[in-house]
């Protein structure tokens, strides 16, 4: 045992000596951006099909669009990209885009109006998951070639009725609005799939970056497009490495082997913020956490009860404890950074106020079930709510289940209360207004499972018409005001208790500037980054 003890002591001294000589921090090459990120949600990179976060990040950097958002000025909204200008017809249904001249795809082919028409028609005809972003304007597989057509250097799209131009253009900034190289894509067509199988793993864009490779669950590598019309990006190579563990990401960052870590948990963010050469940046994302009350329930459908629940949430307590740094209080259906978003958060944790409202409604000994999907933070929110409700005399039974179990019941309008999250689908206020505050037919037969208002059997009491009016309003400022009015009414009358908006925290080496994950409205951009 003496020898063993000596060995141990020796080893300990060895380690201690080495620690004091602390190895130097490595550094990534000046022209290369290296990011650690969870990319296991990427299922396809065909922009007509891609609908996941990490996949949208790839598309945003590889493909140009007719109009797009400037990562350094997201608040400005859409700006010219492959289209330099556009005109709206008298009847408001046709928009004519003039294409930018002299732009080429990565293949060397020129970007033409024909490519733009093909890209949008293709997305409509393939009818993959995100196709609704385009088909909501009345485009169908049958009419696509008439409603979306190229003429010389212009592209014309004709919608089924007049919509706010900002609504149409916002939708065209989404991933599905990417312009693909028709010649390259069709050269790789298999069995009439319009190049879908090929584009799932290859790219044919004109954006600031070319995709070199995507290895599922492993890495994405891109190299800069020196001929990019906006100028060659400073970062000549971008590598996104799939690193699942927060602790591993933090180590890589602190060692200087990566420039950006995107999935650090609150503990690692706190730790990394103390490290030399590391800074933390916050960006608001689109995901909202909410509780919704099923209006089929006789008690839950009373206006005072709907109000009462909004005082039964310990917003600040949760934000400052287990949600720390990852969510901020937000009580409106449009996430902050969206056009028309409201900053009004009038509700606070107030058991007494809730009790008064419940008493006014004549509610006593209420027992309800809340469905929660199996995710740590949601279960914790559920428990906090259960605790507060108990103080107001409401018994809450939490049912935890998989997405399939809980969602199926929610979509079938069977749950008393649902606790969940919702993220916008495209960068226009219509996405969430049309989900939370729109329900033209509240009957069971309507089966409008995509509408959250319908899932909760909520007849919106006039908001449906207001949403319809806002989506066709062409004056931007008036349109913003309309959404703010809708949200003000929604806060007071709806059965939705919107609680939090997600924050994404990136940890960066401190020489990285102009990093953008796209806020709530779009995805990450790499071309403006310098170091």
């Amino acid at each position: 045992m003496n020898t063993f003890a000596r060995l141990l002591t020796g080893a300990a001294i060895g380690v201690a000596v080495s620690v004091t000589s602390f190895a130097a921090v490595a550094e990534t090459p000046a022209n290369m951006l290296v990011i650690a990120h969870r990319i296991d949600d990427v299922t396809t990179i065909d922009p007509a099909e891609s609908f996941e976060f990490a996949g949208s990040d790839i598309s945003r950097n590889v493909y140009g669009r007719l109009v797009s958002l400037d990562p350094n000025d997201l608040a400005a909204g859409y700006k010219p990209d492959l289209a330099t200008s556009w005109e709206v017809s008298e009847d408001g249904k046709t928009i004519t885009f003039t294409m930018r001249e002299g732009v080429t795809f990565h293949s060397g082919n020129p970007v033409t109006a024909e490519d733009a028409a093909f890209s949008l028609q293709r997305a409509v005809i393939l009818n993959k998951t995100p196709a609704f972003i385009l088909t909501q304007f009345g485009f169908t597989a049958e009419n696509a070639t008439e409603t979306i057509r190229a003429e010389g250097n212009t592209l014309m799209i004709t919608t089924d009725k007049r919509y706010a131009t900002s609504f149409v253009l916002n939708c065209l900034t989404a991933t599905i609005g990417a312009i693909v190289d028709k010649e390259t894509v069709m050269a790789n067509e298999v069995d009439g799939d319009m190049g879908n199988a090929w584009l799932q793993t290859n790219s044919a864009g004109s954006g600031p970056y070319k995709l070199d490779s995507w290895k599922p669950n492993e890495s994405v590598t891109m190299s800069s497009n020196p001929d990019y019309y906006g100028g060659a990006p400073a970062m000549e190579r971008v590598i996104v490495r799939h690193v699942l563990e927060s602790a591993s990401q933090r180590l890589l960052l602190e060692r200087g082997d990566i420039d950006i870590a995107r999935n650090l948990n609150p503990e690692d963010i706190a730790g990394a913020s103390q490290a030399d050469g590391v800074k933390i940046e916050d960006e608001l994302k689109g995901r909202l956490m909410y509780i919704a009350l099923n209006q089929k329930h006789p008690e839950l459908s009373k206006p005072e009860v709907r109000q009462a629940f909004k005082y039964l949430i310990d917003y600040e307590g949760m934000r400052d404890s287990f949600l720390k740094g990852q969510y901020t209080i937000h009580q409106n259906f449009l996430p902050a950074t969206y056009l028309g978003a409201s900053e009004e958060n009038p509700f606070s944790y107030n058991i007494e106020r809730a009790k008064e409202l419940l008493a006014a409604a004549g509610v006593e000994d209420l027992e309800i079930e809340i469905g929660v999907r199996e995710a740590q933070e949601r279960i914790e929110i559920g428990q906090s709510f259960q605790n507060a409700a108990a103080q107001a005399g409401i018994t809450v039974n939490i049912t935890v289940g998989t997405a399939k179990q809980i969602l199926a019941r929610y979509r079938a309008r069977e749950l008393d209360v649902y606790l969940g999250a919702w993220g916008p689908d495209y960068p226009d206020p219509q996405t969430n207004a049309g989900t939370f505050a729109y329900n033209p037919d509240n009957s069971d037969e309507a089966n409008a499972t995509g509408l959250l208002a319908w899932r909760n059997s909520w007849d919106t009491g006039g908001l449906t018409e207001k949403v319809d009016a806002a989506v066709v309003e062409n004056d931007r400022d008036t349109r913003i005001q309309m959404y703010q009015d809708i949200q003000a009414e929604f806060r007071e009358t709806s059965p939705f208790v919107i609680m939090f908006q997600q924050i994404e925290q990136s940890a960066l080496r401190d020489n990285v500037t102009d990093w953008s994950t796209g806020q709530a409205v779009t995805s990450a951009a790499y071309w403006q980054v310098t170091k």
Binding site: A197, E254, R255
Partner: protein, 352 residues
């Protein structure tokens, strides 16, 4: 092989039947085991509380998109027919397309398996090279300090969570000391530098003559491989020790010692020779476990191997990938079992 003639002990065999019979039995049992495995994986795939269609199209898809994918997957057909198709496809090494990345699962597995193979092989080599001698010496010097060390090592190996040990290893040897490479198979600057021939990055780098990549890849693999090596070492040394103790207490050892044979010869030539067969099984089993994918190790070290592949697939309801991965892992188990059986026959005269 000398099927007829002297086999060293003066007995002569003249006919083939036992060999043929054994081979046929082996093939038959492989086939039955595989069929059972396929059946179980298939059933698991169907009763999982996950909707594969929803997993592909997502919650927001329209009903028409949903229906198209439902038909595409053949989910409208009776279960028996679906199972039939499944067997037929697997026989053609076709595990279908990954629901999540639209690539053939067999291609995915061919890509991720070499990563696990490389890691597990280095791990088991470390486990054998240290574990076997350690076990032998611990048995020979029972109660000595080296026996204590071996026991502590084994105990720690059994009780320490691999997750914690892996992170600590990374923190100390990569984070603080900077002696080894971090998570991943190779440094980020070396991604895609050498052409992939075998998929084993050390071998590919050597074939390409790119020693920078080789060194870098080695610096990345050494820590996870040592970790896996440590866990198999703990098991191998403990088993070696107990096998050896059993032998050393046998009468023939006493006889050998009485005859004045040197201690070295007693241990290595007599006792150790007699535990080789048992050891082979232990090592094969250990190796199979490592190949099956040491999920946590792969996750901590961002090692793109079969363990993390199956886990990711499972978490995202990619049933084709889960089934494909499970079948491959099952096949490895079966093959390693047969391999150890065969070695048994080579080393153990009684098994002939």
């Amino acid at each position: 092989m000398a099927l007829t003639g002297d086999n060293g002990r003066g007995r002569v065999r003249a006919s083939l039947p036992p060999w043929i019979k054994t081979t046929a039995l082996t093939i038959g049992s492989i086939a039955m085991t595989m069929l059972g495995l396929l059946f179980v994986t298939f059933i698991i795939g169907r009763v999982m509380p996950i909707d594969p269609v929803l997993a592909i199209v997502g919650e927001r898809a329209s009903q028409s998109t949903y229906d198209a994918v439902f038909l595409e997957l053949g989910l409208d057909k009776p279960l028996v027919v679906q199972f039939g198709y499944y067997i037929w496809d697997v026989l053609h090494l076709d595990f279908g397309t990954s629901l999540l990345n639209a690539r053939p699962v067999s291609e995915d597995i061919a890509r991720v398996f070499p990563a696990t193979l490389e890691l597990a092989t280095l791990g088991i080599i470390i486990g054998i090279v240290i574990g076997v001698p350690l076990g032998v010496v611990a048995a020979a010097r029972k109660g000595s300090w080296i026996d204590q060390v071996a026991r502590v090592l084994a105990l720690v190996g059994y009780s320490m969570p691999i997750f914690w040990l892996g992170l600590m290893g990374l923190l100390i040897f990569y984070g603080i000391l900077g002696w080894v490479g971090g998570p991943g198979r190779v440094g980020i600057f070396y991604v895609d530098v050498v052409p992939s021939v075998t998929g084993l990055i050390l071998v590919d780098a050597a074939l390409d003559g790119n020693w920078d990549v080789f060194k870098n890849a080695f610096s990345h693999i050494i820590l996870p491989a040592s970790l896996l090596g440590y866990f198999s070492l703990a098991y191998i040394s403990r088993m070696t020790r107990s096998f050896m103790l059993e032998q050393l207490s046998a009468e023939y050892i006493t006889t050998a010692r009485v005859k004045g044979m040197s201690e070295w010869d007693v241990i290595w030539k007599h006792a150790f020779k007699n535990i080789r067969v048992q050891l082979i099984t232990v090592i094969a089993l250990s190796y199979a476990t490592l190949l099956e994918g040491s999920v946590l190790t792969e996750i901590i070290f961002s090692w793109p191997g079969i363990g993390s592949y199956i886990t990711t697939a499972l978490l995202s309801a990619d049933m084709n990938a889960v089934l494909g991965g499970t079948v491959v892992v099952g096949l490895i188990f079966i093959l390693l079992n047969i391999f150890s059986d065969l070695l048994y026959k080579v080393f153990d005269p009684r098994a002939k």
